[in-house]
């Protein structure tokens, strides 16, 4: 497959970048997600704005009671960063689980959080989509996953998003019009055709992960058929905060269900319980109840659903043993 021609702008400062974006440019970081979609001729931006000379996006430092990671940190850097390992080990774990070694060198945090939601009916060549007749997210007007649906349910497949949401991370966006910071959870929308609240002229500048205020155990569970390359088919970020009396909070964020990572609800009732096998089994049931995979990514949804139960239970059992 060949890329269609485009103009590439390489701004040397944020202001230049903002200006280029305001004129309709599309940001490109590592290009590992964007370029395949362009090769598939999903869309044809005239102008790409490379971020690679913007040193401010390379930040990594502690700021107040939190860790700040610039949008341009590569997945490999995030995976091997001592600061991330110390303050947000689940984020390192998620970054290390992404894609493959080569892609982790190129792929960035900002690109990962802005990953285009995936679907077996849209991540295909122009020819293939044409033969299908397109869908809501491409050239058509139906959804093949939920034929009665009016909204695209393509699956957000970023490994980092659920881990960061589970840690209450926030993101800072900026444009010529100013800057804003919001919870990462609020950044996403449940619409696969545009699953973030990012305005076209905005750049994601950095992510801030607040430090834990007490003892905490976390783990990121990724399931995929192969041990490398594959996007997650099940992604579960699990966080357990502990207090004297036992568990103070259980948080599970599941991805690859729809366009927005899902914060599993009704887990408050586990506060005060001991972190043990019984808790693991019960939480697993709640996750199973609430997480209902769709045939949006190419895998049996019933099997994916069952995996939610098994993998949640196992992960919590493992956290209990730590």
């Amino acid at each position: 497959m060949r890329l269609a021609p485009f103009e590439l702008l390489v701004p040397a400062s944020l202001d230049e970048a903002f200006e280029a974006l305001a004129r309709g440019g599309v940001p490109i970081a590592g290009g590992t997600d964007l370029l395949p979609t362009l090769k598939q001729r999903r869309w044809r931006p005239e102008r790409l704005v490379s971020l690679h000379r913007l040193a401010v996006l390379q930040a990594e430092h502690v700021e107040g009671e939190g860790l700040v990671l610039g949008a341009l940190r590569s997945l490999a850097e995030v995976a091997s960063s001592p600061l991330v390992a110390e303050h947000a080990p689940m984020v390192a774990q998620a970054a290390a689980a992404g894609a493959s070694p080569q892609l982790r060198e190129m792929g960035t945090l900002g690109g990962n959080l802005n990953l285009d939601p995936r679907c077996r009916y849209v991540n295909q060549s122009q020819f293939w989509r044409g033969a299908l007749g397109g869908c809501l997210k491409s050239e058509g007007d139906v959804c093949h996953v939920v034929p009665s649906g009016k909204r695209c349910v393509a699956a957000m497949s970023s490994d980092l998003a659920p881990a960061l949401i589970a840690l209450d991370a926030s993101v800072t966006l900026a444009s010529m019009r100013g800057a804003r910071t919001l919870r990462l959870d609020d950044y996403y929308r449940a619409d696969g055709t545009a699953n973030t609240t990012r305005a076209p002229d905005e750049l994601l500048i950095a992510v801030r992960v607040p430090f834990a205020t007490g003892p905490r155990r976390t783990t990121y569970v990724k399931w995929r058929p192969r041990k490398s390359i594959d996007f997650p088919l099940v992604a579960l970020a699990i966080r357990v905060d502990l207090a004297e009396a036992g568990v103070s909070r259980v948080c599970v964020v599941a991805n690859v269900l729809g366009a927005k990572p899902k914060v599993v609800g009704r887990l408050d009732r586990f506060a005060g319980r001991a972190l043990d096998a019984a808790l693991a089994a019960e939480v697993a049931e709640v996750v199973f109840e609430q997480c209902k995979p769709l045939p949006n990514v190419p895998w049996d949804p019933a099997h994916r659903r069952e995996l939610h139960r098994v993998l949640t239970r196992r992960a919590l059992e493992e956290l209990a043993r730590r």
């Binding site: 077996r120 033969a131 058929p225 192969r226 041990k227 594959d230 190419p298 019933a302 099997h303 069952e306």
Partner: protein, 769 residues
């Protein structure tokens, strides 16, 4: 076996390996000619449609577009098998599957060609599409316009002995229905072709083919040019596995466009197009019944198979025979009957993939044997041992077996895997499984009937102490260039790097039929050996005369000629060659190979499956099954393979590893699947969705070489390229049963399927059977 071991049986660095490792090998896609045009094929979005009109005008009107053709420009049908010419280079009246080629455009650059392809207006009249072979066989809708018997592409029924009586008299009858889902080759290099016409009107086609000779013939037929005006060159290949063993649309298109425009034309498939070209392993449904005596003796086997052929015949006639003919070894069968049918469907055509036609039924057979071993309370290795055919015997369908190392293969995997000590003592969820198999070393009959040699090699020595080998053989990564180099270096005392191999160029090299059915080592090897021995005679005689000793005292090793009875007396090899050339004239010799015609039965179809020699394989697989997720982790596989004689050890080990890898991949990961609910679109024509195991998913593989030399092979060599795939799949299936007590009779053993099977049998948490 010859006693000499100067090169044979050693480990060699492959010819061309260094260039490949440095990334400087020039593959077909790397070739560029001045003025070269780029071509793109317009493909059908419909699985079955009448072509009402192809309007090329819009494409031709675009700046930079030079030419465009449609099916009517290349109307002559072709096909790799002379009796089933049922394909056109581009669809003439009907498109038969999604991705079938309809038109082709040539432009100054690839981007323009892509635009031009989109500008071709094709008007289709969609027809009902059939995706299931049984439905296709029952339907009045005719898929392939050249078909002679509706949607039945081939049917074979053969019986040997009285199977019904054998089953009726058996102590145990095992019956099962097995399903092989279908897989593709997924060679890393996509198909590519480049054509150029010179001032004398000679058309040269560089192509990623593994059958230059057959391509040469079919080009002549379809282009209606005399073969003498066509040259086919096969540059270094990035893998074939059977996926490049017949002509494809792109080769005809670039040739036609080069003839029309007078300019070089190149076409490189996208990965997606490789999936549409396909020719992968047939989906097969196999109903097997086998009768056993209490002691495990196989009294009779009845096998009925349905093959889902896709839209074209490809090698299907042979595949249909192979699905039955090659099951008759490595075990003695009391009686045997098979019936195989191949159907057309509106899918990319199936064809030969490594282990052509026999991998699917081998899976069925070996799981049947495992079930029998359980029922009879016999060790599955012992059951196989008791039924093993002897060397120099005849199978029930009258194939003549020469050497056999099958028992040694079983013993080798039994020992290496710790079978006796470990089997039955592993924790729940972990298991060991065994399977055995056999394969051909080439077929005794060529694809088109003729009396000429199947292979030929020319070897020339020069004054500098070098040799040139002109070999028709297609080096497709299997190492055939290294194989001929090892033979010439063995016979003429040269180092491997003193030998230049020129292969697979129809202008420069003698004809060889191609890289398929594991024929090259035996056939080209024999041809090369006879040429090399003829030259050795000339050289040793010249040295003998110089030293005034009998020629039998002269040995050629390590770049010298030496006197075996007077070790101090040596002559540098270049001097030896010079003396020989002075006496004899140019040092060149040809060798060829003719296959035996007396090693099969005298019935219709009896020659199909007949080979000069048969290889034997045994696998033991060790798996870990996660009963909650359905994941099967293949931890380790031991493969013992009787290749006759390992001419170059590392190459044989590489083939054992590669075959086993491919088999395990098919067992656990791969599925070439169409989305029938969406018009027969390919479910995921990319290497992200078609999941080949990564390094991390690949088991540890122990390659165990067994050597039972066969007098019909060069130095006793048989084959190693395809045999070591077969039994890997049933070995995994049988290991899963050993691990969790659940049978998987349908492939692939992917987690949803395995989990469903576990649930059905009531297996849940660890240990809870």
């Amino acid at each position: 076996m010859t006693g000499s071991t100067w090169q044979i049986g050693k480990t060699h660095r492959r010819v061309g390996a260094y260039d490949r490792m440095r990334g400087v090998s020039r593959y077909t896609a790397d070739l560029k000619l001045p003025g070269m045009l780029h071509a793109k094929i317009v493909r059908s979005p419909h699985a079955h449609a009448r072509i009402v009109d192809v309007d090329l005008e819009g494409a031709l009107a675009l700046p930079g577009v030079v030419a465009a053709i449609s099916g009517r420009d290349l109307p002559t049908p072709y096909g790799i098998i002379p009796w089933t010419h049922d394909e056109n280079a581009l669809a003439v009246d009907k498109a038969l599957h999604v991705g079938d080629g309809v038109a082709c455009v040539a432009a100054e650059d690839e981007a323009t060609a892509i635009e031009a392809a989109a500008a071709v207006r094709v008007q289709y009249d969609p027809l009902p599409a059939l995706f299931d072979p049984e439905e296709a066989l029952a339907s009045d809708v005719r898929i392939n316009p050249y078909a002679k018997k509706g949607n039945l592409t081939k049917e074979v029924e053969l019986a040997f002995g009285d199977v019904d009586a054998a089953l009726a008299g058996a102590d145990l009858v095992i019956e099962g229905e097995y399903r092989f889902a279908g897989t593709t080759h997924a060679a890393l290099e996509p198909h590519c072709a480049l054509a150029d016409v010179d001032g004398d009107g000679v058309l040269t086609v560089w192509s990623t083919t593994q059958v230059p000779h057959y391509l040469h013939r079919e080009l002549a037929r379809v282009l209606e040019l005399p073969a003498r005006r066509i040259r086919v060159v096969q540059p270094p290949l990035g893998g074939g596995f059977g996926g490049k063993s017949e002509p494809f649309d792109l080769e005809f298109c670039v040739s036609k466009l080069a003839l029309v425009t007078g300019r070089p034309v190149r076409l490189l498939y996208t990965r997606e197009e490789v999936f549409y070209a396909h020719r992968g392993r047939h989906p097969m449904t196999m109903l097997h019944r086998a009768g056993f005596r209490r002691d495990g003796t196989i009294l009779g086997v009845d096998a009925r198979s349905t093959l889902d052929g896709g839209a074209y015949s490809s090698f299907g006639l042979v595949t249909t025979y192979y699905s039955g003919q090659l099951l008759s070894a490595p075990y003695a069968l009391g009686a045997y009957r098979f019936a195989s049918r191949r159907a057309y469907t509106n899918k990319p055509a199936c064809g030969p993939k490594r282990g052509h036609g026999s991998v699917q039924p081998r899976f069925a057979m070996e799981v049947q044997l495992d079930k029998a071993a359980v029922a009879l309370d016999l060790d599955p290795i012992e059951l196989r041992r008791r039924n093993a055919l002897e060397a120099d015997s005849r199978t029930i369908n009258e194939l003549r077996i020469g050497s056999s190392g099958f028992l040694d293969c079983l013993a080798a995997v039994e020992r290496a895997s710790g079978w006796k000590e470990r089997r039955g003592r592993l924790p729940f969820g972990r298991g060991l499984g065994v399977a055995g198999s056999t394969y051909i070393s080439g077929t005794n009959y060529p694809i088109y009937p003729n009396e000429m040699p199947q292979s030929a090699v020319q070897v020339t020595l020069d004054r500098s102490g070098r040799a040139r080998i002109f070999s028709g053989a297609s080096e497709i990564g299997q190492g055939s260039d290294t194989m001929v180099a090892a033979i010439v270096s063995e016979e003429l005392g040269l180092a491997l790097e003193d030998i230049r191999v020129l292969s697979a160029d129809t202008d420069l090299c003698p004809v060889d039929l191609g890289a398929y059915s594991s024929r090259i080592t035996l056939m080209v090897g024999n041809a090369c050996l006879s040429a090399a021995r003829a030259l050795r005679r000339v050289v040793t005689e010249a040295v003998a005369r110089a030293w005034e000793v009998p020629a039998r005292r002269i040995a050629l090793v390590d770049r010298v000629a030496l006197d075996l009875e007077e070790p101090g007396r040596v002559m540098p090899i270049d001097e030896a060659f010079q003396r020989a050339e002075a006496e004899h004239g140019l040092l060149t010799a040809v060798g060829d190979y003719r296959s035996p015609t007396d090693r099969h039965g005298d019935y219709r179809g009896g020659a199909i499956g007949a080979s000069p020699a048969y290889s034997f394989t045994a696998h033991v697989a060790e798996v870990e099954v996660d009963v909650e997720t359905g994941e099967v982790h293949v931890e380790r596989v031991w493969c013992a393979h009787d290749c006759g004689r390992a001419l170059s050890r590392r190459l044989v080990e590489g083939q054992i590893e590669g075959s086993t890898y491919m088999g395990v991949a098919e067992a656990v990961f791969e599925h070439h699947e169409l989305d029938v609910a969406h018009g027969g679109l390919h479910a995921g024509p990319s290497l992200l969705d078609y999941r080949l195991p990564t390094f991390l998913d690949t088991p540890a593989i122990d390659a165990l070489i067994v050597e039972a030399p066969d007098p019909r092979g060069p130095y006793g060599a048989k084959e190693a390229g395809e045999g070591p795939l077969h039994s890997s799949i049933p070995a995994v299936a049988n290991a899963i049963y050993d691990a969790v007590g659940v049978r998987l009779d349908a492939l692939p053993f992917d987690p949803p399927r395995v989990l469903a099977a576990l649930r059905e049998r009531g297996v849940r948490r660890e240990g809870a059977r």
